[in-house]
Amino acid sequence: MPLLDIDCISHAYGTQAVVRELSFQLETGQIACLLGASGCGKTTMLRLIAGFERPATGSIRLNGVTVADTNLHMPAEKRRIGMVFQDYALFPHLSIADNIGFGLHQKSTLEIRQRVDEMLDLIGLSNRGERYPHELSGGQQQRVALARALAPEPHLLLLDEPFSNLDIALRERLSLEVRDILKRAGMAAILVTHDQNEAFAVADVVGIMREGRIEQWDTPYNLYHRPATRHVADFVGQGVFISGEVLSRQSIKVELGILESDVPMECGTSCAECGRGCRLDVLLRPDDVIHDDASDVLAEVVAKSFRGAEFLYTLRLDSGAEVLSLVPSHHNHAIGEQIGIRLAVDHVVGFPNRQ
């Protein structure tokens, strides 16, 4: 039995449908992420789970108990779902220790002290319990918010854009730290964000959302390498589409050569129907295009961006189509130069041609 079972949930603000027949499941201890551009309905989905909104259709079951369906609405404070907010929403009039112990009000003073100390320890702020929220840095406030949400031992933790108020360097470090804290606490969690680096750093499984639906619910690896839809392929990671022609079930001809795939091509249902001679748009990631001086396929450097260990080159082919290539940064080529490239695609992803 899954810990959380979202079944066919819809929600609208007025006539504007925000979440459309959305379903997914979460196992105990699993960290999931709803990833999408702003306005895709991800935050609304989180508010539905938390109990701040009522779904129009569908049901939400937590730990085998229905917490929401069309007739029933368990109030937010009864669901035992913790939440970490975008602005942390720490209580400014309380010390750090009191903030963390706030949700434990029905316990004895001793138990509260023990749990608060345990939590302060978990987030590495053991000696800061007497401080007030405004005396802490953004990253520390974030961890206090996490500890406050974890203290009452919720069934599930929800995090709404938890890193968006932090600078980029801190964001990366803290997202790993948060994952570590959640895993040590064995806590199942759902994170909402528009930043895929954050999603990939924290989550075991990611749902790509668009217009109130989940387009693909999968591991970060699969989202990148086996995107189910064109939107997912576009949204996740970098890459370009170049046109190709189907030769057989396992090979496609593109401008740079013939792509062979061991597995049937991942291009939805239409690909197999499409058959020999059919035109496809093939996804090429920057790591699929390899710089090789021995290759007789040449491309012109049109743009380059230095990434430290590597350059990301934008290359123009003879036909005018452009591809991206990640090249170790000691291969420093000037813009306008012709360089040799070859393809190293072990997995072809194609989608029906747009026209």
Binding site: F52, A76, E77, I81, D87, A89, F91, H93, P152, L158
Partner: protein
């Protein structure tokens, strides 16, 4: 003309003036504490989702805020005895009137205070398992009160000055005491000047405190 000032009459009447000031302070404190308590309840009622409660509170607040205080004082003093059949006395009548009147003003301040607490704070309260009333008591009201402290104190300074209006029903506050003393010694000018100074010193000290309080935040 100032050389004609007889300061000894002030010294002689200090105990009598002090008794008047005591009532002024008692009236201010009672109306402040009672007013903030009732005002908070009124603010909660006004923000309530129970429509009749919200309407009643809104009407109460609007009416009180739209009538001159001196009229409310007179009205209470004259009409309540007619209804209850027993005279209340000017002092008691003043205590009740001021508390009920100031409640309307404090209510609006507390309403602004409650609304100044962000929705995120309320959601955070629910997320750690607080009910509406627990949220109100432990999360929202403490913050509302803290945010509004300078405004509440400013209103109290106005209240302190307004207590002199009980003059209209002859309750013996600082102003009335000074008038009586002035008549006794036939030295009204000294008394009026002295009393004005007392009001000024107290109000100025209070405003200074408020200014420091709001700067510290």
């Amino acid at each position: 003309m100032l050389s004609d000032f007889d300061f000894s009459v002030i010294a002689d009447s200090l105990p009598f003036l002090w008794s008047g000031l005591q009532f002024t302070l008692k009236l201010t404190l009672t109306a402040m504490l009672g007013g903030i308590f009732l005002g908070t309840l009124l603010a909660l009622a006004r923000l309530s989702s129970v429509a009749p409660l919200a309407t009643a509170a809104t009407w109460y607040i609007n009416i009180m805020r739209s009538i001159p205080l001196v009229m409310v004082i007179l009205w209470f003093f004259l009409v309540i005895p007619l209804l209850t059949g027993a005279p209340m006395g000017a002092e008691n009548s003043a205590l009740v009137t001021f508390t009920l009147f100031e409640a309307a003003f404090y209510a609006e301040i507390m309403r602004a205070g409650i609304q100044s607490v962000t929705r995120g704070q309320v959601a955070a309260g629910y997320a750690i398992g607080f009910s509406y009333s627990q949220n109100m008591r432990f999360v929202i009201l403490p913050q509302a009160f803290r945010n509004m402290l300078p405004v509440l104190l400013t209103q109290t300074i106005v209240l302190f000055q307004d207590t002199s209006l009980v003059y209209a029903i002859g309750a013996k506050d600082l102003l009335k005491a000074s008038e009586i003393a002035g008549k006794n010694y036939n030295r009204p000018v000294e008394m009026v000047v002295f009393v004005a100074l007392v009001y000024f010193v107290i109000c100025f000290a209070l405003s200074y405190t408020v200014k420091r309080l709001s700067r510290r935040r």
